[in-house]
Subunit: 220 residues, 3 copies
């Protein structure tokens, strides 16, 4: 049991580092597009990589773990440096970034939900906090770049995160903490997100509000 715990702790640490790293590219590329300077690019990479987990920890009421562990800072900032420096690689990164981002989302939603459950929060809270871990970075990115957060407006982005976290919460409720369910949860999230991207699925928008200036709505 103790051994399993140690393995799982290491597994979750590794997944979190990986998610932080791939999210960093999402932030770094958005920053390059917005023509931030080199400091801004590195900061935005770090913010997108770290903000979701920090928000989760603050909401749970524990000190943000990624702040004290230097590896997270490096994992989040390094993609910013890459995005700024690698002129050639950037085009290819741009095409890959949506997939990267989907992977990060999948990893974060299950690790976030797992952490909440371990700290004694209920299953509903775990699902919400898992989703916040996944989508928090992107929301802060959009606010800093002065956009209404994409995740609130369009695309199938939060639903996959909620679904992935729900798999973990339901398994936990059913008495199982096996890492296998984390893998299933991440897979569910990744699949839903990629299907949503492939078939351009959007969530519905309320249909009788006043239409803002010339934005052809794409709801339903």
């Amino acid at each position: 049991m103790a051994i399993t715990d140690a393995v799982e702790t290491h597994l979750i640490l590794g997944l979190n580092l990986a998610a932080t790293f791939v999210f960093g590219f999402s932030g770094g590329l958005a920053a390059v597009r917005a023509r931030l300077d080199v400091f801004g690019v590195v900061v935005l990479a770090a913010v997108v990589g770290l903000a979701g987990g920090i928000t989760r920890d603050l909401l749970i009421g524990v000190p943000p773990e990624t702040v004290r562990d230097g590896r997270f800072l490096i994992a989040a900032a390094a993609p910013g440096v890459v995005c700024f420096v690698a002129r050639r690689g950037r085009d290819r990164l741009q095409r890959a970034v949506l997939v990267f981002d989907a992977v990060g989302l999948s990893l974060f939603c299950v690790t976030g939900a797992t952490k909440a459950l371990r700290l004694g929060l209920g299953p509903v809270q775990a699902v919400v906090l898992g989703a916040i871990t996944g989508i928090g970075g992107g929301i802060v990115r959009d606010v800093l770049l002065r956009e209404v957060p994409t995740v609130l407006r369009t695309e199938l982005y939060a639903v996959p995160a909620l679904a992935g976290a729900a798999v973990v919460a339901v398994a936990h409720r059913a008495g199982s903490d096996a890492g296998a369910f984390a893998v299933v949860g991440a897979a569910v999230c990744l699949l839903l997100r990629l299907v949503g991207l492939r078939y351009v699925i959007n969530l519905p928008v309320a249909d009788d509000g006043p239409r803002p200036r010339g934005e052809g709505g794409s709801e339903r």
Copy 2:
């Protein structure tokens, strides 16, 4: 004494839940107007309902209480669902939302100040934290929808919250923790807010700054 405490604790819990619920409508309706998708509408409702109290708790340095108590999550998210679904009701809600919002502001400013005083903060802090509890949700709503927060620009919105919290802080200073003063504080806040709305009272704007593009100032 212990009985009074228990009653007061329940009273404050009830008032907080009610304030969270009515604030949720303010967030949900703003989200529908901004044409967010269904997820965005529910999130904005929850954020407006919860952000003030969470900010207060983080500033005091205690774990945000509404995160662990699932009732708050439901009280904050449910109005979002209603705003999204109820096409007909939305018009009537729209007219009622300013009053709802004033009620939420009044309840939050006194419960926020009360919590700060109970946790040993000084009266000035209690007034500020009470006001933050009341106005925090609206500020986050405006930032997410990419607007300069209304409360910083115009209208009599923060002053009622400060006044309501001040009633509680002064009563506490004078040795009284009686719930009656919370009621008086809330009534003072509500009255000031409704008078401000009715007579379109704005706070003064500094009168010699450069005037931004064609915005007819309405100060003094």
Copy 3:
């Protein structure tokens, strides 16, 4: 030793209060320019003075110290009142504000790094948290006024803060906690910032991104 500690604690408290006060002017003047009302001006002064330190404390995982100490609230809010009331003084303040702001940045980056080191964080974290203490207030100011944070886009602003904090972290690593290094760190930051302002030095922007609408880039 104990005496030195007490002296240093008082020194850091004094420097923090001074930095909060001068940052308050930066917030207050920006708020007057943006035509916020009197409440908005005082709030923006307070936010710019306090947000960096509060963010640092939340990231470290300790209760924000400035919330419980009423002197900080006064030091941060008073400049807002001055900015709103003093019509004549405002012009002179406007010219002085960049220097004020540079002084605040220099003080905050060393006190922030010192606090992080004292609470047992590593040197890299201390540098980052020192910089966050210095630049956090300005970022929140820009977000509330609906601008992409200046510090992410242009000017030599974060680099001086990082350099100042690095002096403190390196001295600490080398076994010295002497206040002298805090002074050196602050001086390094101030010098870099003033040189950057005088010679209009900007950090590089990635040079092959798509250029946004008609903004003549000023990079390199």
